[in-house]
């Protein structure tokens, strides 16, 4: 039974430098802050960071699985409030959950929470899906 307040089971994704390279190739976003530690440090970042849109794509996968397929995702929005930091040779977590906040006919609105290393990385992450 889905109702307002229903909490979706948490899922953990893992990101590493290899995934960032694969995302750069698949998305066409080759900004060196997602590839080169030297460059990232030179622009004041603590280390290489994941593409915000990679984080959003993974949260999108979480939503898609719950909604029963990509075709059921109607709206999806997020604010990139903190970077996901991806040191060389490490796998970092992206931990995702969501709460049902509105049901309007067939449309279900979700409020998503995504954290990495305990830090909230997306703000105002909302989706509208049909199930």
């Amino acid at each position: 039974m889905i109702e307002v307040g229903t909490i979706l089971p948490t899922k953990v994704f893992y990101l590493d430098r290899g995934l960032l390279k694969a995302y750069a190739d698949a998305s066409g976003d080759h900004n060196p802050i997602h590839q080169s530690e030297e460059f990232a440090l030179s622009v004041g970042l603590p280390n290489v960071i994941a593409h915000g849109m990679l984080t959003m794509a993974l949260v999108g996968k979480f939503i898609t699985d719950w909604a029963g397929g990509s075709a059921n995702v109607k709206e999806f929005s997020a604010r990139f409030i903190k970077p996901v930091i991806v040191p060389a040779g490490e796998k970092v977590d992206l931990t995702v959950t969501a709460t049902v906040i509105e049901i309007d006919g067939v449309n279900i609105k979700l409020d998503c929470v995504a954290t990495s290393a305990g830090v909230k990385v997306l703000g105002m992450a909302k989706a509208v899906v049909t199930q």
Binding site: A22, A26, A57, G60, I63, T64, A71, K74, F76, R79
Partner: protein, 129 residues
């Protein structure tokens, strides 16, 4: 500085973009999505970000792409994107403001296949000062 006269203007992409199944497969594969009959919900960023780059870096607009970070992103998906979609991208610079020395641009982008509006996206882009 970004040219303030560009606010409210709509720029159409010069070229049509055809979605290939191999592109959907690659994007889906890296997030662990096995069903590639339709594109994942954020796939269209692949099209819109490259269009933004070519539009916003035009000399008359003047965005420095190297100083740009992504602030937020929204998608409204009217029907799923599929292989074979042929998109025209229209990007409208909706607002421009300056905060704490950064320029903040919001851009709406509509992807049309023929006369059918398939996806609208809203992106906030921050040019760090």
């Amino acid at each position: 500085m970004i040219n303030p006269d560009s606010v409210g203007r709509t720029f159409d992409s010069a070229d049509l973009v055809t979605v290939k199944q191999s592109e959907i497969d690659a994007f889906a594969g890296l997030i662990g999505e096995a069903d590639t009959r339709v594109a994942p919900p954020t796939f269209s960023i692949r099209i819109t970000l490259s269009q933004f780059e070519s539009i916003l870096t035009k000399p008359e607009i003047g965005v420095d792409w190297a100083r740009l970070v992504h602030g937020d992103q929204k998608f409204e998906i009217y029907r799923p994107v599929i292989a074979g979609d042929i998109f025209k991208c229209s990007a409208t610079i909706e607002t421009l403001r300056v905060a704490a020395g950064n320029e903040i641009i919001s851009v709406r982008s509509d992807l049309h296949n023929g006369s059918e509006l398939v996806v609208s996206t809203w992106s906030t882009l921050v040019v760090r000062g």
